[in-house]
């Protein structure tokens, strides 16, 4: 996967085994030189742009946490007015917090206005930059520093917000989910996203060894298990036609979710000191229900 030219230079300050780093690298290398990257505040932004250095070999803009989509909209308009819009990609790399929560309004506005921007959400399922706090992308049952398990808590109490479906509900030209364990699938989707004339959105599951509590060399394995257990489904919707949602990675033999949960310390309270069969069972039941409902 190492490209001839790396547009995200080595020597940045992201953690070893960071899913976001890998996702960004795959994406920016696939998009190529004529790409402008926009990023809201978050792990990736602070670790790649420390003044006076930068890890970006393409133009890069950070403004704030909640407004990457609006800033990207401004870039799209400005390039059009300069007569320089042709053959250029505008790529947003946003965390789940900057997408699902604080950035959602700006994102919805950008979709609705139809800016030609590819918005990639690198989802590590919590506010990692501020030290692993829960957000609406955090899955049910997960430990974070603000969803700690305890006498009256099993960890995160709410299910994950279905962000890609919310994006697809805007009827934009292209929406997909992807993960770094299936690079070819991710790259294919990214190329489609960049080719459409309008907004596109890719929800990328990007595990975080520090926040999920797994060893950094297990990144790909954890990402793959998320797909193989049905926790994360790989699909795409083209031309805003939700009814034509296409599963891009079929999983004929789904593994039990326990196999995925066991790999990560953020779920360890579900196994020890007592095995929480009820909670794990509920997580499994939700996945089964999802597969049934969508005929997966």
């Amino acid at each position: 996967m190492i490209e001839e030219t790396e547009f995200l230079a080595p020597g940045h300050r992201m953690c070893a085994g960071c899913g976001v780093a890998l996702s960004a690298r795959i994406a920016v290398n696939t998009a190529g030189k004529d790409t402008i990257v926009v990023s809201p505040t978050g792990c990736m932004e602070v670790t790649t742009t420390q003044y006076p250095e930068t890890a970006w070999r393409v133009p890069f803009l950070h403004v704030a946490f909640e407004n990457a989509a609006s800033a990207a909209s401004g870039i799209d308009s400005a390039l059009k007015m300069l007569g320089k819009r042709e053959n250029k990609n505008i790529l947003v790399f946003a965390g789940d917090g900057g997408t699902f929560d604080i950035g959602l309004q700006a994102l919805s506005g950008m979709f609705e206005r139809g800016h030609k921007v590819t918005f990639i959400c690198n989802d590590n399922e919590a506010y990692m930059n501020t030290g692993i706090q829960r957000c609406s992308a955090t899955p049910y049952g997960a430990w974070t520093t603000t969803s700690p398990p305890g006498k009256y808590s099993i960890g995160e109490s709410k299910p994950k917000k279905p962000i890609a479906r919310i994006a697809a509900a805007h009827c934009i030209p292209y929406v997909a989910t992807a993960t770094i364990a299936y690079v070819a699938d991710y790259q294919k989707k990214l190329k489609k996203a960049l080719a459409v004339d309008g907004p596109s959105f890719i929800h990328v599951l990007a595990p975080c060894p520090s926040g999920w509590r797994f060893a950094s060399d297990e990144l790909i394995e954890v990402s793959r298990l998320a797909v193989q257990t049905g926790v994360f489904v790989l699909w795409e919707v083209e031309n805003g036609e939700m009814e034509n949602l296409k599963i891009t990675k079929k999983i004929p033999q789904r593994k039990p979710v326990e196999e995925y949960l066991k790999t990560q310390g953020r779920f360890k309270h579900l196994f020890k000191p007592v095995l929480r069969k009820d909670v794990i069972g509920q997580i499994q039941a939700e996945i089964d229900k999802k597969f049934e409902r969508f005929g997966l």
Binding site: Y51, L61, A64, S70, M81, A106
Partner: protein, 395 residues
């Protein structure tokens, strides 16, 4: 040039159009809404070649302007009150990134209680944000200040964003005769925008909006302050050049019958017109009163104020805002500027016209009467006075 009868909002919109911004992003808010409406018509009719982004909030309006300006084009937006407050976080970012964006702001009170009428609390709350601030007395000034704001903001010694503030209703919705310059005249005054440092070009990739550690952050702020200081000179140059081209002379502080005044009113915005009228009447009665109007509030024209404050014995600072827990913003800044004077005049602060409470000549007669008492006694007993408050309504 052509005489036209227009409201203040149109003056801002026409001023902006004449500066040929390439991207405008805006969101409606009373009493500023006519600005984006007017500009969207210019764009729809092809009078202005620009992309008008109908964003979903003021926060996105300023964010889109930041994105566009960082790409390398001139931008404009307009707002008021809650809208400006919603932009707050990005205002600091725009100035920190040294993007010379210009905002047209209708001065409107801040909630609560929600109120759509005039006072200066909204822009005063942003006085530390690193933006140049200009306040108009009338619609002609509204238009002229937009042209000059761009020219000052984009100067390479400055590179700071600027806001042109006009009073809600008294200006935004009031029709006045305005001398509208021709496009050719403005083009000769304001050259096309060419970004010096801020662009997003794959042929020359740079990173904007970096992470600044304690090792570098202070230098960023120091350079912003230096730019503010440098802008003082540039403002004078641009005001002079404008006068040469358009025959209207602006000053950071405009004096009115101030040279021999014993009592000097310090004012801002549209109240200055009413105050000048009051000054005329009081002069007829032999009272030595004058006025100094702040057209520029940021950078704060301390040097000019000190010069003006040498002769009068009482400075009556009239603030259409209140920094709750202290005093009006103009008073705070004015008195701190005067602190270095060897013999400084007595200073008193009058709070007036909050939330659109009407400001009449009578208010200024009262202010001057109170100032005369101070003059006689030779001391200030009450530093903060509220004008026109119905104290009997407060339990």
């Amino acid at each position: 040039m052509a005489w036209r009868i227009i409201e203040g909002n149109q003056a801002l919109a026409i001023g902006a159009k004449l500066c040929r911004p390439k991207v405008i992003a805006s969101y409606p808010i009373t009493p500023s809404t006519h600005v984006p409406e007017t500009i969207s018509e210019f764009v729809a009719d092809g009078e202005l070649k620009a992309d008008f982004i109908n964003v979903e909030s003021e926060q996105s309006a300023i964010s889109a302007c930041i994105g566009a300006q960082a790409t390398g084009v001139r931008t404009f937006t307009a707002t008021a009150s809650q809208g400006l407050a919603l932009m707050h976080e990005m205002l600091y970012i725009a100035s920190g990134m040294r993007l010379p964006i210009v905002i047209g702001c209708a001065n409107r009170a801040l909630s609560a209680p929600i109120n759509i009428w005039c006072d200066h609390s909204d822009t005063m709350a942003e006085r530390d944000a690193g933006w140049l601030q200009f306040y108009a007395e009338n619609n002609q000034e509204a238009l002229d200040l937009v042209l000059q704001a761009y020219k000052i903001a984009e100067n390479k010694e400055v590179l700071l964003p600027g806001m042109v503030a006009i009073d809600a209703y008294t200006l935004t919705h009031t029709f006045e005769r305005v001398d509208v310059p021709s496009q050719a005249e403005v083009d000769r005054f304001l050259p096309p925008y060419k970004p010096l440092y801020a662009f997003l070009d794959p042929e020359k990739p740079i990173t904007q909006g970096s992470f600044g550690t304690p090792e570098h952050y202070m230098e960023f702020k120091y350079s912003q302050q230096k730019a503010m200081e440098a802008s003082k000179e540039i403002i004078d140059q641009v005001f002079k050049e404008f006068d040469g081209k358009f025959k209207r002379r602006y000053h950071k502080i405009e004096k009115y019958k101030a040279d021999d005044a014993e009592i000097l009113l310090l004012t801002m915005g549209s109240m200055s017109g009413t105050a000048k009228d009051a000054v005329d009447r009081l002069r007829e009665k032999g009272i030595k009163v004058g006025l100094a109007k702040f057209t520029v509030f940021r950078p704060f024209p301390a040097k000019e104020l000190i010069e003006i404050a040498k002769r009068p014995k009482v400075l009556a600072v009239v603030d259409r805002n209140i920094s709750l827990g202290h005093k009006g913003a103009l008073f705070s800044d004015a008195t701190s500027a005067l602190a270095s004077m060897e013999r400084r005049p007595l200073t008193v602060n009058f709070i007036i016209g909050l939330g659109g409470r009407d400001i009449s000549p009578q208010n200024f007669y009262e202010i001057v009467e109170k100032s005369e008492k101070i003059l006689k006694k030779g001391k200030v007993e009450k530093e903060l006075e509220w004008i026109g408050v119905k104290k009997e309504m407060i339990p």
